[in-house]
Symmetry: C2
Subunit: 400 residues, 2 copies
């Protein structure tokens, strides 16, 4: 039996902490979970965030840096925290630097996409490979980026070498960088450390998930975790992770349904779980069930754009023209500059046989969110329609 009262308190605290350190997407997930909990009659007393001694020393500077971060002044936020001592302040400083590097890398390429290495925060190219593609970022740019990212990892390591208190968010950031640089084992280790310290950071679980290329790897990981740390592997967050893993690797087991039912009892109003159910039905090609599930999600949370790209892919396959056309109009009204909107509009144009326009919108989706992998694959289909096989192959390759 899950301790709902305790879980509510933990989610509340976690949501405050995540907002406080500017991990906005993780804070969003966590607060949605909090609001998705089954009703609890017991009153709640809204405890404040507890600050340790180091955090108290940093607090005024930390608050200032956070306002700069919220105003998108990342370099200034980092500079403000230069003399801080707490782990969270070091995290916010290094995270600001990380965001600033990423932003600049995107700007240096003019936000354009190229067929070659992904340009922002690219992995180090293989040694000795001479780079002949003029659109691929120069070795200098890549080395420069890697150098600056290495500095972040080194600073985090120096903090620990000097006896710094273990900090979940520093481990998360280091794991993120290792993962970008394809150092999978190191990434996994660091992300896992972060999650044992602070399990409610969904962005960290997602990053961990992305380190697994095959289901077998993930399965081994889960089994190992279950043997070595049963309290961690039986926690709500680990169960969420396992659920998404089964869904993402198309594992059509009863296990998925059992987990989903159990978690939905705890979180009956958590849209995230409904989306997992939708995605599971979608992967199983049970489109009519998937459609009705998503319609339910839209009825309850009509301004939600997350996952609408996948939904529109399905409507395209189902040839639901008027629904897709309505969706394209609606999402454009809510926010033109979201990758989900661009994918919906791209699907709409593809359905009308306007493949050039469709490609333009898929490109825009990728400019807005370089992790939107399905857009590469779908753009590949559009290039096939236009008989541009070179571009099609390149697109499919990038979508893997």
């Amino acid at each position: 039996m899950t301790d709902l009262v305790g879980l509510r308190l933990e989610l509340y605290n976690a949501s405050q902490v995540l907002s406080n350190i500017c991990l906005v997407h993780a804070a969003k997930w966590c607060t949605e979970a909090l609001n998705g909990l089954a009703p609890i009659s017991e009153p709640f007393d809204f405890p404040p965030i507890a600050l340790d001694e180091d955090e108290r020393k940093d607090q005024f500077n930390f608050m200032l840096a956070r306002t700069y971060f919220n105003c998108k002044e990342f370099d200034r936020a980092a500079y403000t925290l230069r003399n801080c001592v707490s782990g969270n302040a070091l995290f916010l400083r290094l995270y600001s630097i990380y965001i600033s590097i990423d932003k600049r890398a995107t700007e240096d390429t003019g936000g354009m996409l190229s067929f070659g290495q992904p340009k922002s925060l690219p992995a180090r190219p293989l040694g000795g490979t001479h780079n002949r593609d003029p659109e691929t970022p120069s070795r200098d740019l890549v080395d420069g980026l890697n150098g600056r990212l290495s500095t972040i990892v080194e600073e985090a390591e120096a903090y620990y070498n000097e006896g710094g208190k273990p900090n979940a968010f520093l481990y998360y950031l280091v794991g993120l960088i290792f993962n970008k640089r394809k150092k999978t084992d190191l990434a996994r280790k660091s992300l896992l450390r972060s999650l044992t310290l602070f399990p409610y950071n969904w962005s960290c679980w997602q990053e961990l998930l992305s380190t697994f290329a095959k289901y077998d790897e993930a399965k081994d990981f889960i089994e190992h975790a279950k043997i070595s740390d049963s309290s961690f592997s039986s926690s709500i967050m680990f169960r969420m992770f396992e659920l998404v893993l089964l869904q993402e690797f198309y594992q059509q087991s009863d296990n998925f349904n059992d987990q989903l039912v159990a978690l939905s009892e705890i979180f009956p109003n958590f849209m995230f779980l409904k989306v997992q159910k939708f995605l599971f039905a979608y992967h199983r090609l049970d489109y009519y069930l998937a459609e009705s599930l998503f319609d339910e999600i839209l009825a309850q949370d009509p301004m939600r754009l997350d996952d609408l790209d996948t939904y529109s892919n399905m409507l395209y396959v189902m040839e639901k023209k008027s629904k897709l056309s309505f969706l394209a109009q609606f999402t454009s009204q809510v926010d033109k500059y979201r990758s989900e909107t661009c994918c919906v509009v791209a699907n709409y144009h593809s359905m009308k046989g306007e493949h050039d326009k469709s490609i333009m919108y898929f490109k825009r989706a990728l400019t807005l969110n370089k992790n939107c992998l399905s857009a590469w694959t779908l753009m590949g289909h559009e290039f096939v329609e236009l008989k541009n096989s070179h571009a099609a192959i390149e697109s499919y390759r990038r979508g893997c």
Copy 2:
């Protein structure tokens, strides 16, 4: 003698509240003030934000809406708060709608500038004036915008009619809308109400300042305030307001210096006050003093871009070529997409006689920040250089 300990507590609380309700620029000003205070030896105990009964009812939803707001999902934030009861929740709901309207108005015009009515959130055109300029927004668009803004004002009024507790931020938002619609008296009244309830919202003081077209009006206002409410008019925030007013209306009185000295004793490290001193010297054409003052600001807060546009105007007049060239490079590195950066780069190109490029950057500055009035005037100068007198006159008109 100012009660520094009490002031620190008030600024700390205000900073928390402003961050909490997503007024990020006001939070930045307030937290800079907090960090700019004279050192206080007395320890500080970091009190949490107090929630009243209504706010407790709304808290989980409010937190969720805030995470959506921080992820730029404004419509979703507004929708999440549809059943909330507290004044702050109503504010965040209406403010999200306001931002969403403004964002869409900018997008509908493709972010482009036109020579005609300012396009985003335009004032209602005079009745009966037939609109022949194809670049001016259509009557429908203007009416639509005004209609949606009116709804915000009506909802705020309905809240008060139903006995809602006075809320500083609702008054601020209503004042903002009245001011946009040139209803100066109503705007001033609403903004003043907001400030008596919550004096630490600098954005509100700025809005109040912008309601005064002439110094005499402002002077009357200040004198009236001093007679009718001496505790309000002797408060720190009112004194800040008076200081900026003297500076903005080029009032070269001893009064300014006295106020500045007194406030600088309370806030010896508050960059904002140093900037006022710089601007005062700049308006007095004392460029060498102004330059050394700004160099000091840059040394202490090197990643700060605020006011660099004005500084670069001065370097241009002083013909400091290498300094302006360095500044153009530096600001572009920190953030290409800030209006200040674009103004610096525009000045740099103008200095090199590249007037077309200069105009392009001034236009970009105005696209990024439509309130950047000096860019209009400077762009006017560039058009004069290019002997385009029609465009020059239009630019000068818009810069008034």
